[in-house]
């Protein structure tokens, strides 16, 4: 009697083990957050003013991550923000073995949160072209600029740089809009510059859910090249007062300068074309049309391989609000030179990601096609929903939305909470399919940012995902490499162009296909990905050609570069081997 039972039991064990093995083998991301030493949780800001009942829910932001190799050792490091009063921001130095050490205190960049400021985002950019990324900490309150001293320490130069200003900013990117070889700062602000921690007016909430024009807008700080910045917002052609959540740049029309997409909450996203003379023109109506959605994220990538950069914008899609995302397919300029985009989110299957936040293009399986990872969820708390409360307010006749006193308290209620993240795999047929569950990256935390980087320089893109009021996730990419998953990465360094090479486009031809990517200056909500440009190459074992178009306008072409390695290219020079000790 025993034997069959044992045999049967063994069979179950074997079968279960086989299933587990199959599941693990098929899962290409591993959650290494705790083992890597980066599990410190983010905490939302609490308020003690008379609008506290509503403020905490509506500022459940600030969980951000920014990637750069701040110490030049060849491994990308991560700066991660907290938001609570007294909460420490983290500078996770990459130890090169997929472990990290928080060195923020020693580096002098830990103190970003106090009674009058809450960290919301961070951006690395080489403001002085010295090859060391400096750190801009974006805050509800006043921003901070830290100069990287190159010895592992940073110095607060905000005042010296002329950046002391109350802004309530939520996003920032850096690119050289006037092509003078220096990175300029574009800062998106959510609220108006009222003191959120002790407001002197109750009228600082959005005046409308669809056409609000009482937000913080956009500020452009032109880099003077002497360590200071000048507000060039109006001169550059911007006069915006929307509730900016994200901004993203790229050369949309391949004319050599950087154009701009601005995603606004409670109103219309805006598209600006760079006139090439230090000014921009708002071409929203003809390029993308006027929308009334809740734009959260801007990322650019050529998902359809047509040599034009497309845009992914997340909005809100839930039972009670079915906005849908935008996947703006770039049509390129028409006969009259007019640039336009078509939203193809529905037909591509990338329309619904719940209450979306960051959505990043990345080729996680190195098949040569850009996939999209999206995080989502606003507030995951009790089972009780906040939706009826908000709609009771919305349908009240004559309501003044701008008055914070009219907004119902959120308490412990949830709003679009516990939403599953999506990994849209590009199927190569014009459509995408969600593979998040398969890879174990479909968590239900309230996601905010996705910093994509190859933290161990192994040619596989990893992801640092930030979550509001929760621990982040560090997902290590474990995809089996081999002859069908070749890759290449480029680390560019400008000489005539800005040293960080932001805006440089790279076109690689391999396996008979051409791919386009570029160095971006911090695109994507609440997260800055690595500066290196990564291409998945599928079965292509050789690069037929690589063309670099530098921000200066210079072009260089390199034939027959080897694959499965990181190439460093200095403007005007030949490709070099990337730091050998860092390259596996």
């Amino acid at each position: 009697m025993r034997r069959p039972l044992l045999f049967g039991g063994g069979c179950v064990v074997f079968f279960t083990a086989a299933l587990l093995f199959a599941a693990t083998a098929d899962r290409w991301f591993e959650d290494v957050t705790k083992n890597a030493g980066v599990a410190f949780p983010h905490t939302n800001r609490s308020f003690e003013n008379k609008y506290a009942h509503i403020m905490e829910g509506y500022t459940a932001l600030g969980a951000a991550a920014a990637v750069a190799d701040y110490n030049g050792d060849g491994f990308d490091d991560v700066f991660v923000t907290d938001s609570k009063d007294g909460g420490k921001n983290r500078l996770y130095r990459n130890n090169g073995d997929f472990s990290f050490t928080d060195v923020a205190e020693q580096a002098g960049v830990a103190d970003g949160n106090d009674a009058n400021n809450a960290s919301a985002y961070a951006l690395w950019f080489d403001m002085n072209n010295n090859g060391r990324p400096d750190l801009f900490v974006v805050r509800f309150g006043q921003n901070l600029l830290y100069e990287n001293l190159g010895n592992g320490r940073f110095r607060d130069i905000t005042a010296k740089a002329g950046l002391t200003r109350y802004m309530n900013a939520i996003s920032a990117i850096a690119f050289d809009y006037d092509r003078d070889g220096r990175l300029d700062l574009f800062v998106g602000s959510y609220f108006q510059p009222v003191n959120l921690f002790n407001p002197d007016t109750p009228r600082f909430f959005p005046e409308s859910f669809e056409t609000a024009n009482n937000g913080g807008g956009l500020t452009v700080f032109r880099n003077n090249g002497d360590g200071t910045f000048t507000d060039a917002t109006k001169k550059a052609g911007f006069e915006l007062a929307g509730w900016t959540l994200d901004i993203g740049h790229a050369d949309a029309d391949n004319d050599g300068d950087e154009d701009l997409y601005l995603a606004a909450d409670f109103g219309t996203d805006r598209f600006f074309i760079n006139n090439g003379d230090g000014t921009f023109t708002d071409i929203t109506e003809t390029a993308i049309g006027i929308d009334s959605k809740k734009g959260m994220n801007v990322d650019w990538g050529d998902f359809d391989g047509d040599g034009l950069l497309d845009i992914y914008v997340t909005n809100i899609t839930d039972d009670y609000m079915r906005e849908g995302n935008f996947l703006w397919r770039n049509n390129g300029p028409d006969d009259k030179g007019l640039l336009s985009f078509n939203d193809v989110s529905r037909e591509t299957g990338t329309f619904n990601t719940g209450w979306g936040w960051a959505g990043k293009f990345l080729d996680y399986d190195n098949d040569g096609l850009l996939d999209i990872y999206v995080v989502n969820g606003w507030v995951s708390a009790s089972e009780e929903s906040y939706v009826p409360d908000i709609f009771e307010m919305v349908t009240r006749p004559g309501i003044d939305f701008a008055d914070a006193r009219n907004w119902p308290p959120m308490g412990k209620k949830s709003l679009s909470g516990y939403q599953k993240k999506r990994m849209f795999h590009n199927e190569g047929n014009g459509g995408f399919r969600d593979h998040a569950a398969r890879h174990g990256i479909d968590s239900t935390r309230d996601g905010r940012g996705i910093a994509v980087a190859d933290f161990d320089n192994d040619g596989r893109l990893d992801m640092f995902v930030t979550n509001a009021n929760a621990e982040p996730y560090l997902y290590r990419n474990t995809i089996p490499l081999g002859t069908s998953r070749n890759w290449v990465q480029f680390h560019l360094e400008g000489t005539k162009s800005n040293r960080q090479a932001v805006g440089a486009q790279i076109r690689v031809r391999a396996g008979g296909r051409q791919q386009l990517s570029f160095v971006n200056g911090g695109n994507g909500f609440a997260s800055q990905s690595m500066q290196r440009v990564h291409f998945g190459l599928g079965t292509a074992a050789q690069l037929e050609s690589v063309e670099v178009r530098w921000p200066s306008g210079a072009r260089q072409t390199f034939p027959n570069l080897p694959v499965n390695r990181i190439h460093k290219i200095v403007e005007g020079g030949n490709p070099l081997a990337f730091d050998a000790k860092a390259q596996k």
Partner: protein
Amino acid sequence: MIRRNALILLLAAAVLPLWGNSADLEKYEKALLASPDDLRTGNDYRQAVIKAKEYDRCIAFFEKLTAANPDASNAFLNFGFAYVDKIPDAGSITQVILANTALAHFTKSIEIQPSWIALYTRGNSYLYWPKIFGRAHLGVADLEKAMEMQRKDSVKSYHIRSYISLGDGYWKMDDIEKARAIWQEGAKHFPSDAQLKARLSREGDELKEYIDDVLDPNKRVNTDLHELWEAR
């Protein structure tokens, strides 16, 4: 008097083609001022408004018309539809405000005259609200009354609408058995109806996806009532 009014309505309906030009909207408005409770002219006016995208003009017109004619049940019905017609062109929050306002006018119409079309309309409108608002049971109650009315009547082609919507209402209340039963009852009367077939051939997530798509507020709801007077 009643006969004379009916004759005027019929004549008006016969004379007025379905204009789409915004300049011609004035002609519909004049006709409605003469016959405020004329459902058909009001319907044709709204269809012309949809073509001309003059939603606010239409809403303003019916606002005045109903204020001047507080007993005109059909004017209130068209007033509600005027808000529904604007929904696809509105942002997601305005959609809610428009839908809520439309419900108020449908309710007024029912209070004046609880007709089949008014009950069906309000009942169906409730179904567009997400589950979280708990309005599906109100929709089902209206649709059950409409069903009761049509069961006492000879079968008309437009009765198919109640079978579909009442089933959708039961489905929204998680009573899939009752939903299937009413769709099947509808299928006996309308065996070739594609919408009923689509529902009866789907289950689970597939059915949910289908109904969610049907009840997507971003898609234009067909508020053209011409079936009512073309019914077989």
